[in-house]
């Protein structure tokens, strides 16, 4: 460049243009995806979670035994590996009330596999139910709870935090003080208290409003987990509030809601996603925790919390049914581990300080 000097004629412009075409700009998301893929642990976690989510979604399609068919005559059967016994005939389609899509999946399964079902690859539990099937079906409940609660916390937390940060001043002070107060309450006690009270009105709620206990459960969990989200979002919004593009939007006459949700929220999305992946494992743990105490998911439905309860109830000094403890724990631990690793990986990938570096 220096050799020829600048003439700022056509040639220079063409050269600049070709240079800029070579260095293609990268969006935040593409950059993040690339860096996530380079982080092997996080990428494998991501793939694992995708596979796992798909399995849970399509659970009725697999030739698994029904998760609720009882066989009280036998005691827990130890695992039989698939190469010893691949499967048997004798599938009985009993489930709890399924949704339309699941019904369709179940009938598709019956058309393909007939009455054939897999053997007890992971053993059976104290009531003769197949453990593998219960783990797969249980994952659906756990995922559903986690997602519903996470969305709840997302809606409340992002709105609250963004509003607080955007309005600023005295309103912000008051809103954050409320968050501080809520932080200092040991929530589990209040939640347990609330759930027992809701239980009193269960039948009424179900008959009149069609709200069952699980919905209440989601809302209650979501109502706790928005606090951190609100704080984080508020911090980000506070930093963005005085930037030019927000000012420009306001000068153009955008309403508060428009500035918030069209201009501010997309800019804090990366932080929100990171916290979401870290909230989901916390919520899953919480579901297991409450179910363990007898306040969460109830039979005949299954969730991982319920399986953990079943397993630990079968711990006794006479015979050790190790598979009842090991496999549900393994399923839960690997999922939570993957979520945690993915969350950490996403945080690194989306960190603007690390952009463009490797």
């Amino acid at each position: 460049m220096a050799k020829e000097g600048w003439d700022l004629g056509r040639r220079d412009y063409e050269r600049l243009l070709s240079e800029s075409l070579v260095h293609k700009g990268e969006s935040l998301w593409r950059d993040a995806a690339r860096r996530l893929r380079r982080n092997r642990a996080a990428w494998w976690s991501f793939l694992f979670l995708c596979a796992f989510g798909l399995t849970a979604l399509l659970a009725p399609l697999f030739p698994l035994p029904s998760p609720v068919t009882l066989d009280l005559s036998i005691e827990p059967q130890p695992p039989v590996p698939p190469w010893v016994e691949l499967g048997t005939h004798g599938f009985q389609p009993d489930y709890w009330e399924l949704s339309g899509v699941d019904e369709a999946l179940v009938s598709a399964r019956r058309a393909v596999f007939g009455t054939w079902q897999t053997g007890p690859w992971l053993g059976t539990d104290g009531k003769g139910r197949d453990l593998l099937s219960r783990i797969v079906w249980g994952s659906r409940t756990s995922i559903l709870v986690a997602l519903a609660a996470a969305v709840c916390s997302l809606l409340i937390g992002v709105t609250y935090g963004a509003l607080s940060g955007y309005l600023g001043g005295r309103v912000d002070n008051l809103m954050m003080r409320v968050v501080d107060i809520l932080y200092s309450i040991p929530f589990i006690f209040v939640v347990i208290f609330l759930i027992t009270i809701v239980n009193e009105y269960r039948t009424e709620l179900e008959d009149r409003f069609g709200i069952d206990r699980e919905v209440v459960f989601f809302v209650v969990i979501g109502a706790i987990y928005w606090l951190t989200m609100a704080r984080v979002v508020r911090g980000q919004v506070l930093a963005l509030r005085n930037t030019e593009f927000i000012e420009a939007a306001r000068v153009l006459g955008a309403s508060t809601a428009r500035v918030l949700f069209v201009h501010l929220v997309p800019n804090v999305l990366s932080v929100v996603i990171v916290y979401l992946t870290l909230t989901i494992p916390a919520v899953m743990l919480f579901e297991a925790f409450l179910t363990f105490l007898g306040l969460g998911i109830e039979p005949p439905k299954v969730s991982w919390g319920l399986l953990a309860v079943d397993g630990s109830e079968m711990i006794n000094p006479v015979r050790i049914y190790w598979w009842l403890v090991l496999f549900p724990s393994l399923a839960m631990a690997s999922t939570l581990l993957a979520l945690n690793v993915l969350g950490d990986g996403l945080r690194d990938a989306l960190d603007p300080k690390l952009r463009g570096k490797d």
């Binding site: 107060i181 200092s184 309450i185 040991p186 006690f189 208290f193 105490l293 050790i320 839960m332 939570l336």
Partner: protein, 328 residues
Amino acid sequence: MTRFLLRRLLWFAITLWVVVTVSFFLMRAVRGGPFDGERALHESIERNIQARYHLDWHPFKQYLHYVGPLNLDQHGPRFLGGDGTRPFGGVLAGDFGPSFKYRDFTVNDIIAQSLPISVGLGVIAMMWALTLGLSVGMASALRRGTRADVAFRLLATTGIAVPNFVIAGCLVILFVFLVPLLPVAGYGSWRHLVLPGFALGGPFAAYIARLTRTGMLEVLSQDYIRTARAKGLPARLVLLRHALKGGVLPVVSYLGPATAGILTGSLVIERIFAIPGTGSHFVNSALNRDYTLAMGVTILYTVLVYALNALVDFAYTLLDPRIELGES
């Protein structure tokens, strides 16, 4: 300093008042009480029970009586109790009233019996968490990048991800059935608290290890550590006297949430190991509709968590003189 404490106290009072008021009126609003049984009671018996627990009063009067500090029992407020009735009562006087389910006990009796056990369990769990977490975190930071470091980090991530009742189940199988070292459940001696304490403290140990590792790595790369080493101090001294103090700061600020978490976790752990602590009483009370007991424990734990958090913040200023109290 005083201003900070006063302000803190004021917010605390407001918080507590909200918790007490909301839960009281929720509790009273619930249809059906702990005394509803299969069999319908005779009218006079029911009246007696209602009178015994003041359920026949106006809700607002019940609330005033519950909150205190004046005892509204029997003959209205009285300032001198000669006939065995006390002039003061209610939550403000530290009296949580009678238990609805255990007819012969007050909530205070039950808490007095069970709280020492829970505190013991919590202290053991915290000790496990701190010793394990700090030592593993430091070892990990000093051997950064080695295989041991990777193994420790994986262990820590697993520890955070696994629920404590799963840890408890594995521990019981290992140390009770396979290698009979410790009692399986119940309460009686310190040996009964070792396994539950570990299961309870495990996830927090993992978290503390992580925080220690990050904190130590940051401190170890700073100039004053290099200076200390350059002037010839032995590595151990540099580590313990210079680096540790700065490195554990994140851990100190985590202690507040950790205590809250340990209190929460004790609900499950006490149930698994059949330990008669406050947590298991609380869960039972919630399932039994023993509202006064449930409320009493909720209030007690709110106070505990709040006080411990304040204490931790205070300790933080002692360790790090750059932080000043009062600016929030």
